[in-house]
């Protein structure tokens, strides 16, 4: 059955352990070739949405579909098989392994050597730092460099759906630009991107659709440009003065 959405989260209720619910009946749908940006205050449940979507956290109720196929209850490995990849918030490089091994592990699920080699060249080209420190231990890199390696690792596969949890955190402006550029490229290649960003303005400028999350519910959703223009949202979630940059 073909669906008009690549990723659908419907009526999700989820929480950690026995503690109270974090997501309370949340619905998010991502069509192909679209970037959906989740914004919201700290602790709103954005990362939790992504964890549920990638199977790291099993929802207490609700359904998850990838390209129309019901994947509720899948583990991350199966999710990957269903064409969904997830880049974690914070730092998730394999610290005691080299940059090379990290990047190659990104292609763990691939078998075609030629394809792997091609992807390696691609990410090396994209992030000069990665090429430069190819044999270095990933744990020895700076915080931003590790994020770059992580992003590079996630680019080794070309999934249908990509979940990005604050990919630009800790990156310098140059690298941030590259990341957003890649997001756009993925979209242009038909991928559905679910992006969580605290760099909200920048993210909404890039995204097609926006979703404001608060206390585990979708507060408002709509075209990203509309959200950007809403002064009330701006004050509560995007920081102070709407749409007028402070400097430059």
């Amino acid at each position: 059955m073909a669906s008009e959405y690549l990723l659908e989260l419907e009526d999700i209720e989820a929480g950690y352990g026995r503690a109270a619910l974090v997501l309370r009946g949340l619905t998010v749908k991502v069509p192909p070739a679209t970037v959906v940006c989740l914004v919201g205050p700290n602790g709103a449940g954005k990362s939790t949405v992504l964890k549920v979507a990638s199977g790291m956290l099993t929802p207490r109720s609700g359904t998850i579909r990838v390209a129309g196929q019901d994947v509720t209850g899948f583990n991350p490995q199966k999710m990957l098989g269903a064409g969904l990849s997830h880049v974690l918030q914070g730092h998730s490089v394999f610290k005691e392994m080299s940059v090379e091994e990290n990047v190659m592990l990104g292609a763990y699920s691939l078998t075609d050597r030629a394809e792997i080699a091609e992807r390696v060249d691609f990410v090396k080209d994209l992030f000069p730092m990665v090429a430069e420190r190819w044999k270095a231990l990933a744990g020895a890199l700076s915080g931003g460099q590790q994020k770059q390696v992580e992003f590079a690792r996630s680019l080794m596969v070309r999934p249908q759906v990509v979940l990005l949890d604050e990919p630009s955190m800790g990156l310098d402006p140059k690298a941030t630009a590259i990341v957003f550029e890649q997001v756009v490229r993925m979209r242009d290649a038909g991928t559905a991107v679910l992006l969580v960003e605290q760099n909200a303005r920048r993210a909404l400028e890039t995204a097609d659709l926006g979703c404001v999350l608060d206390l585990g519910r979708v507060h408002i959703s709509g075209p990203a440009s509309e959200l950007l223009a809403d002064p009330q949202l701006a004050e509560l979630y995007l920081g102070g003065r709407p749409a007028t940059p402070t400097t430059t």
């Binding site: 919201g40 206390l215 507060h219 004050e235 509560l236 979630y237």
Partner: protein, 373 residues
């Protein structure tokens, strides 16, 4: 959502319950010798008290700093041998000898601590095990002084007119007194700034350092205090039992009993190790009575430990408290606020602050004062 006063009333209730609990506990301990049916049960009581002392002493390092020592038998053994040797070779009063031996062990714990607290986690565990094994070898081989594998007989501190059952009773109270002291000190540390610094070491040592906690000194102090109490526990036991054999004094099993007891009860709670000691001490007797002439008692002990680790890693007391919390008024529900709610609250708060700016200045003043001190 429960109001603040409800929460406060709840905490008063809890405090009262705690005090009553402590009193009941004290009464139970004090009356045990008169309730115990015969000298044997009394002697089991002494053994359990001794376990409780050791476990509580262990918990000064294990509970506060998170450094799990499997080798605390080293300090109880040293305390025991120290006491015994002083009593045998000098005219010093046995009780003074006990204190002296505790101090000696504490002094010895300083270099040992300096060496072993340099490493964390697994390395520390291994070093602590090594400590016991090395002492075992030394005490076994250095026969001229320690009696070697013949063992060492420690003269009893009471005269022959004190019969064995009465001796048990006296030692029961002595152990109880030592336990009470250890508990008191633990409690004092637990609520102090020193204690919170130690707990910070347990959680993240580097971060604690960056916040200005002299982690190494703190750890060392906790370690030495722990060794001191452990040694006193060992020494007291030596005076009671009257015979020391290196194999049993310096045994990893004894050290791991301390860990098991503390973990079982809960290493973050004051009475955790005590509760654990009572349960494990009783279980050991029970297993022996049940499976005495097969090795099955080891299996039973192993299973007990495994169950604790797998299902109650925080111990019984925390598990119970958590259960109790589920019925008590919940204060944490104030977490449930949206950004809009919070903004509202802040606006109100800011308005309040403007209204009473004097009070506000007072706080600010305090901040500045802190910076200069």
């Amino acid at each position: 959502m429960p109001s603040d006063s409800e929460v406060r009333r709840g905490s008063v209730l809890i405090t009262t319950l705690k005090i009553v609990g402590v009193l009941v506990l004290a009464a139970a301990v004090l009356s045990f010798p008169s309730v115990a049916g015969n000298a044997f049960i009394l002697s089991v009581g002494v053994v359990i008290m001794s376990y409780a002392v050791l476990a509580t002493s262990w918990n000064f390092v294990g509970g506060f700093t998170g450094y799990m020592s499997l080798g605390h038998a080293a300090y109880s053994g040293l305390g025991a041998y120290g006491t015994g040797l002083i009593v045998i070779h000098t005219d010093i009063n046995p009780w003074v000898a006990l204190g002296l031996s505790g101090l000696l062990v504490a002094v010895l714990a300083v270099p040992v601590g300096i060496a072993s607290l340099r490493v964390r986690g697994a390395s520390f565990v291994i070093v602590s095990i090594a400590m016991v094994l090395i002492l075992l070898l030394v005490f076994q081989s250095w026969g001229e002084v320690t009696g070697g594998s013949n063992g060492l007989r420690v003269p009893r501190p009471f005269g022959p007119e004190v019969l064995r059952p009465e001796q048990h009773e006296r030692f029961f109270y002595l152990h109880a007194a030592l336990l009470a002291t250890a508990l008191l000190v633990w409690w004092l540390i637990d609520r102090s700034r020193f204690g919170i610094g130690l707990k910070a070491v347990r959680e993240d040592e580097d971060k604690a350092q960056a916040l200005g906690v002299p982690t190494f000194n703190y750890k060392l102090v906790a370690f030495v205090v722990s060794a001191f109490f452990t040694a006193l526990g060992g020494g007291l036991y030596a005076l009671w039992f009257g015979f020391l054999d290196p194999i049993f004094q310096f045994s990893i099993l004894v050290g791991s009993y301390m860990v098991l007891m503390s973990l079982l009860g809960g290493i973050r709670s004051l009475f955790g190790p005590l509760l654990g000691a009572v349960i494990v001490g009783y279980a050991l007797e029970f297993f022996k009575a049940e499976y005495g002439d097969t090795q099955f008692h080891l299996v039973a002990l192993g299973l007990l430990l495994a169950i604790v680790v797998l299902f109650m890693p925080d111990g019984i007391i925390p598990a119970l408290t958590q259960l109790a919390r589920r019925f008590a008024p919940q204060a944490s529900s104030i977490r449930e606020m949206t950004a809009a709610d919070l903004a509202e609250r802040r606006r109100d708060a800011d308005a309040d602050a403007d209204g009473s700016s004097e009070e506000n200045n007072g706080t600010e003043h305090h901040v500045t004062e802190g910076a200069r001190s």
